[in-house]
């Protein structure tokens, strides 16, 4: 019996983990939802979210990564990498995206990138 994959099981193989510096990020371009920032924390956990700060749209991928947070390069808001939420006292959410890391490759969800 052939199995039809549920659409949420379809992932896009976007880049190699080693392409991201530890405590750094890369931007993935071309998604319907706009540029996506993919972060690699010091403990090698990978996170993804829309590359737009909830404050004034700053490119979060260009910020300084520390612990599981990134500091926006424009005005210094801190964004939690796990939830994509701004850290108090600021409020707002950049929009968290699912990530899978398999055999050193990083995958993003096709549906999420399409805004579905």
């Amino acid at each position: 019996m052939t199995q039809v994959a549920a659409s949420h099981d379809i992932w896009l193989d976007v880049l190699d983990l080693e392409e991201i510096p530890v405590c750094g990020a890369r931007v993935v371009e071309g998604a319907a939802i706009g540029p996506v920032a993919v972060f690699r924390a010091e403990d090698h956990t990978v996170f993804a979210m829309r590359d737009q700060c909830p404050h004034k749209g700053g490119p979060l991928s260009q910020g300084i990564v520390h612990g599981h947070q990134v500091t926006c390069p424009l005005h210094g808001w801190n964004i939690c990498l796990e939830s994509a939420q701004a850290v108090a006292p600021d409020t707002g959410c950049a929009g968290r995206l699912s990530v899978r890391v398999e055999h050193g490759r990083i995958y993003l969800s096709r549906d999420e990138l399409a805004g579905l």
């Binding site: 379809i10 896009l12 392409e19 510096p21 700053g58 005005h75």
Partner: protein, 819 residues
């Protein structure tokens, strides 16, 4: 591991602050039990005055809600007074019989008001002013009765008198000393204050002793105050504000040594090593403090030891006072009464209601007393705590900080005079009302907390003084910690100085080593400490410590300035502001090829290409074939020059080539903050050398060198360092000065702030008087900059991570099914 038991006696400001600090450091170590005699959770005692005056409600001043206690697993016993400490069985016993065992005990019982031992002091209607209950009693009395007498003309007494007056009572203040607030003001300022308060309807009896309190005829309630001279003042309410004494009864009964306070050492430990004490009940090095700023410092140190980190010490505090409720601006700190070996500078304008007195000893500010205009209180207090020589400021000291040049907030300099809708922080658009509200509602006490909560003064920092004033006005004291002790960031209690020293003395070359050695609270720092430590490592151990691009702000990582839309600007270096036709042609070609939207001449004598996409940066650099201008770095920026004697009819020296030489010598120099130089060919100074980090001015007989100028947020004129004859000397002296700054400046401290912190005399001593020291500094600079790679033309050598410029395109991604 089983948690240890910590019992806290006293649910007040110092005790709970200690618990808060402890939870931040080590939430798992203890099971915490708190006893509080009052029926409330911890509240902000300072704000009892606005409650009395009717500006705030009791519910507004709660600092920690009951939920806070339960969320943090703290067992709270309100309305229970601890009556005994059994140090042998290690338990405390409360008045209702509750027994709580402890492994560590914290005593924070505060003070008890001093009640004059005169006949009638136990009559109903005679109260102190200490807690919510007293405040409620006063409010109720004011609604019913007419005459109030306040005994004591200190801070507390005047606040009580003012509040009762505002509630419509007829108030007389009886004071023993010859002038009001004798511990905070000198007689001159006090008399101005008294006149002002009299104009508001308050009455005063100074140099007067209270003989007795007598009851109303036929009633069991106070009716009058009898003075030593026999005068009788009608009084339906008597508030005793004649002073406080440390509440040590419990500790004394438990056999802990006390001497005008429970004796503690620099770690806030009593003579019993299991028992700690903080707050007003404590005597530390012979001092008992009655303001929260020092008590919070104690709390921080005590928590550190309770958390068994054992790295900080409390060595005492310098305090200042600010009267907050009576609508009069006054401020005092230090030895404002003067005395032997001191000099006083005073300014008095009774008609305008302004009086200022500065007390100096050996050219250092040791005391301040301000009345009417306290805008500069925070600034004077800073000078006082830093104990820095004020020789260079002396002539203008009296006129305050604003006299030294300021921009960006419409010349507002009186926080008190501002209305709630006035903007305080121009960068983040925060007005005064928002700050005041945050301080009151969220219980903020420090500049750091206000920054965190409101963002005010968090960006360019030029409104820091204003925010400090607002804090002082709301809270009544100065909460900014002594800068010498200021923590580098929230990840640590250590200061910039500590970190620099540890790196140097222990030859640390890696960030993680620093964080481990100094017991950082976070695994890998934050956006504040990472760049600072990175800089300290590479400036202390050049060619040895490895630069970490991930610890640099994006501009220094991408070697271009990020713009608000995420594009970048590119500023190629033009040595000394000189360029050629070929360079201009290449710039024009690049501008066309990459469709650069804006081409602009900068204030630094070069050309800015703005709006370039990140992925184009490496190609733009390659096509320009010009070195990086480092317009993005905490590094050497520009050396501005004028045309000089090569062309100018007034020129005395070759300023252009001097500028080029300096710029080449300093190429690639990272520093605590950006560094700008200028060279002018004659004193007409067309290159504006007077507002640069290093300014060089040619004169007929040689060169004059000026240092620590700044043309930015706060314009500061550079100070004269020396005059030299030769070009080589200019290089050596400027280089040595900059190396001193590089080695001893704090990250993000411009030269002007560095020099003002260490003092110009120190700079002169190190650069002018100590010839060997100067040469050694210069040599270390030359060594550090040896072979400094150009990040644009030798990206690889400069450690630039080129991966960041290659976009990852979704179009190239392969689909896969993962379950």
């Amino acid at each position: 591991m089983k948690r240890m038991k910590l019992v806290v006696i006293g649910n007040g400001m110092a005790g709970i602050r200690t618990v808060e600090e402890l939870l931040k450091l080590s939430p798992e170590t203890y099971e915490v039990t708190v006893f509080g005699a009052e029926p409330w959770p911890n509240y902000n005692r300072i704000l009892l005055s606005p409650v009395l005056a009717g500006e705030q409600d009791v519910n507004d001043i709660i600092l920690n809600s009951l939920e806070w206690y339960s969320e943090n697993g703290i067992r709270l016993h309100t309305g229970k007074t601890v009556t005994a400490i059994d140090r042998i069985r290690r338990e405390v016993i409360a008045d209702d019989g509750t027994v709580a065992p402890y492994d560590r005990l914290l005593i924070a019982t505060g003070s008890v008001p001093f009640i004059l031992p005169v006949p009638g002091s136990d009559l109903p209607g005679v109260i102190a002013y200490r807690d919510i209950k007293d405040t409620e009693t006063m409010i109720a009395a004011a609604a019913k009765w007419r005459h109030a007498v306040v005994i004591g003309g200190g801070l507390l007494g005047l606040e009580a008198a003012n509040g009762l007056k505002q509630r419509g009572m007829d108030v007389t203040v009886v004071h023993l000393a010859g002038w009001l607030l004798e511990r905070q003001l000198d007689p001159m300022a006090a008399s101005l204050l008294q006149k002002n308060l009299e104009a508001k309807g308050l009455k005063f009896r100074l140099t007067t002793q209270t003989e007795a309190l007598v009851a109303r005829t036929g009633e069991n309630r106070v009716g009058a105050v009898v003075l030593r001279d026999g005068t009788e003042i009608p009084a339906d309410l008597v508030v005793m504000a004649a002073g406080i004494k440390p509440n040590t009864a419990l500790a004394e009964a438990a056999g802990l040594p006390c001497q005008r306070g429970i004796l503690v050492n620099d770690t806030l430990q009593t003579f019993d090593p299991r028992v700690y004490a903080v707050g007003e009940c404590v005597s530390h090095r012979g001092m008992a403090y009655g303001l929260v700023a020092p008590l919070f410092e104690q709390a921080r140190v005590c928590a550190n030891h309770l958390a068994m980190m054992g790295i900080s010490r409390y060595t005492g505090s310098v305090t200042s006072t600010k009267l907050k409720v009576t609508g009069v601006d006054l401020f005092s700190a230090g030895s404002f009464m003067g005395g032997e070996g001191t000099e006083e500078i005073t300014l008095s304008d009774p008609t305008a209601g302004v009086y200022k007195k500065l007390v100096l000893r050996e050219d250092r500010l040791v005391g301040v007393c301000l009345y009417g205009d306290t805008a500069d209180g925070a600034w004077y207090f800073k000078l006082l705590r830093e104990a820095r020589k004020v020789t260079d400021l002396r002539d203008t000291l009296m006129f305050g900080e604003n006299n030294m040049g300021d921009t960006g907030h419409e010349g507002h300099n009186k926080a008190m005079a501002m209305s709630d809708s006035d903007e305080v922080c121009g960068c983040n658009g925060v007005n005064k009302g928002t700050i005041v509200k945050a301080i009151k509602e969220q219980g903020l006490f420090t500049l750091e907390e206000v920054r965190k909560c409101t963002k005010a003064s968090g960006s360019c920092g030029s409104c820091t003084g204003l925010v400090e004033q607002i804090l002082m006005n709301v809270l009544g004291t100065d909460y900014s910690e002594a800068p010498a002790k200021k923590a580098l960031c929230g990840c640590t209690d250590h200061s910039h100085e500590d970190v620099r020293r540890v790196i140097r003395e222990n030859h640390l070359v890696a960030q993680q080593a620093v964080r481990d050695f100094m017991e950082w609270r976070t695994p890998n720092g934050c956006a504040t400490c990472r760049p600072a430590i990175n800089y300290y490592l590479i400036s202390t151990w050049p060619h040895e410590a490895r630069d970490d691009p991930q610890s640099r702000f994006i501009n220094e990582r991408a070697h271009a300035n990020i713009q608000k839309d995420g594009t970048y600007s590119v500023v190629p270096r033009m040595w000394g502001g000189l360029t050629t036709a070929a360079e201009l042609r290449r710039i024009a070609d690049v501008a066309e090829k990459y469709q650069v939207p804006t081409v602009k001449l900068t204030g630094g004598q070069r050309i800015d290409l703005l709006g370039i996409k990140k992925e184009d940066l490496p190609d733009v650099w390659r096509d320009l074939q010009m070195p990086s201008g480092h317009a993005y770095g905490k590094s050497l920026r520009t050396v501005k020059t004028c045309v000089g004697n090569e062309h100018c009819r007034f020129g005395t020296q070759a300023s252009m080539s001097m500028g080029v030489d300096l710029e080449k010598m300093l190429f690639g120099m990272y520093s605590p903050h950006k560094v700008k130089l200028a060279v002018s060919g004659c004193p007409r100074n067309c290159a504006e050398a007077g507002i640069k980090d290093v300014g060089v001015i040619g004169v007929d007989s040689g060169w004059e060198i000026y240092v620590a100028g700044n043309g930015g947020i706060k314009t500061e004129v550079a100070q004269f360092l020396c005059k030299v004859k030769t070009r080589e000397e200019v290089m050596e002296y400027s280089g040595a000065f900059l190396q001193l700054y590089r080695e001893e400046g704090w990250y993000l401290e411009r030269t002007v702030h560095f020099v003002s912190r260490v003092g110009m005399e120190v700079v002169k001593r190190r650069i002018l008087e100590d010839k060997e020291g100067r040469q050694a500094l210069y040599e270390r600079l030359v060594f550090a900059l040896q072979g400094a790679p150009d990040p644009w033309r030798s990206s690889e050598d400069a450690g630039v991570d080129l991966r960041q410029f290659r976009p990852v395109k979704l179009a190239d991604a392969r689909e896969e099914v993962l379950s």
